[in-house]
């Protein structure tokens, strides 16, 4: 806002065409707060309108051009000045000239590639946003609309279990097993710990989920570890031959999919840390990486609708109509 000009200023508003129907998701901001943003997937078209409203009626707005950009960028907190843009699209809305009255401009970015998932971390942020700009000689007028992108995967073809024997010579030997190596965000980790040799006095055992965010390259690599979960799986002293079961539901924890070397800038990886604690508070642990992936919700909706249709074949029409209307309610 310029206090010394008596010229014209404008307000910009970006509105998506499918704002009514598009799903919104919660996403953490840099200061830890949670906000809701429109959710997009890779390949989806981003279209809408840019409303430019003149503030002082009767006066004209001189400008050097109006444009809208769709940007995907990575921001490393220790290097704020440099934004690494991996997606950068622009559409010109108006050539340099004058605006006599408020105007609305349509825009469409067709089938936009959104290769990575939106991520706000401890030392790095990856975000997508629309930015409308009215260029002017002295100061531009800008408006941004942030969106969130999720990357989806399907059930991996190969998903072997993790099974290993570890220990300290002559003191402690265990065999641990986790049923898969790749888990989706609402999956369950099913496993077991089998004790082969116990010559120390164990007090209890827990399993932790650790998130490791790696930023930087070469000699400047920085790891930030965060313990997302601590889950006690055994209280008391085990002996040889005992099996302790593990059943850990991941849906209760805030996690992202595993991100490996995103645009060669950062990684986010997850590890299961099995920790045994003895009577003197000494800790024995074994860390194992797991791959997390995001499963789409889309399948769920059509399945319940299909299930309702299928029930028509076996039950009377009254109950199947109820099932169909229930399925429709779930979809909405």
């Amino acid at each position: 806002m310029s206090f010394f000009s008596f010229g014209q200023t404008a307000e910009i508003d970006i509105v998506l065409n499918d704002a009514e129907t598009r799903k919104k998701v919660e996403h953490k901001t840099e200061d830890g707060k949670k906000d809701k943003y429109f959710l997009f997937y890779d390949g989806e078209t981003v279209s809408g309108k840019v409303n430019v409203t003149l503030k002082n009626p009767g006066k004209r707005l001189e400008h050097q051009g109006i444009k809208i950009e769709f940007i995907g960028q990575i921001e490393l907190y220790f290097d704020r000045g440099n934004h690494h843009e991996f997606v950068s699209l622009v559409k010109d809305l108006a050539r340099p000239g004058e605006m006599a009255q408020s105007q609305t401009f349509d825009f469409e970015f067709t089938h936009v590639e959104k290769p990575y998932e939106s991520y706000t971390g401890q030392n790095v942020k990856l975000r997508y946003f629309l930015r409308a700009t009215i260029s002017r000689r002295l100061n531009d007028i800008c408006k941004e609309l942030e969106i969130v992108v999720h990357t989806l995967s399907t059930y991996p073809e190969l998903n072997s279990s993790i099974k290993m024997e570890v220990g300290i010579e002559d003191c402690l030997h265990i065999e641990f097993e986790y049923n898969k190596s790749k888990y989706h965000l609402k999956d369950v980790i099913v496993g077991k710990i089998y004790f082969l040799l116990v010559r120390i006095k164990i007090k209890h055992m827990e399993i932790d989920i650790i998130k490791r965010e790696t930023t930087g390259t070469g000699p400047n690599v920085y790891h930030e570890n965060d313990t997302i979960a601590k889950y006690e799986i055994m209280d008391g002293a085990p002996v040889r031959g005992e099996s302790i079961p593990i059943r850990l539901f991941l849906a209760g924890y805030e996690m992202t999919p595993t991100m490996r070397d995103i645009n060669k800038k950062f990684s986010v990886r997850y590890y299961l840390n099995l920790v045994l604690i003895d009577e003197e508070e000494r800790r024995y642990f074994k860390q194992q990486e797991i791959t997390l992936w995001r499963k789409g919700d889309i399948v769920r909706k059509s399945m319940s609708h299909q299930a309702a249709i299928a029930s028509q074949r076996f039950e009377g029409s009254a109950s199947s109509e109820k099932a169909l209307s229930q399925a429709k309610e779930e979809d909405d």
């Binding site: 003191c171 040799l197 006095k201 031959g241 079961p245 003197e280 399948v299 399945m303 319940s304």
Partner: protein
Amino acid sequence: MSEATVADTRRLNSKPQDLTDAYGPPSNFLEIDVYDPQTIGVGRNRFTTYEVRMKTNLPIFKMKESCVRRRYSDFEWLKNELERDSKIVVPPLPGKALKRQLPFRGDEGIFEESFIEERRAGLEQFINRIAGHPLAQNERCLHMFLQEESIDRNYIPGKV
């Protein structure tokens, strides 16, 4: 919850436990008692010794039962050996109580009953904590401290 596939949360198969393992004595039996303080000598040359009795079934210890007499400076020697030779963080010993050794005290100083009891408890906690450490169990100095009649301060340090 209308998931296409509900996650299978059934337990993984496991080997049934051998009953002798389930009901037999555990393989981690290790108990060390520090007791029976005896003050030996007269006048200024007095010192207190404690009996250190160990019972264990850990194969790393040559004797399953042992009983030796040790004094406070022997515990200090063990702590120093472990701090020098092994990578472990050695737990603290009960205090040296130098103030108690000054003259003109109203009480018996370091031969005061309550002090000896306090020290005994501290030494017992110390030795139990260190003897259970897998890395300390590899050190010759620990075995010599627990199971040999007297400590040879000219021994060759090393691993068992």
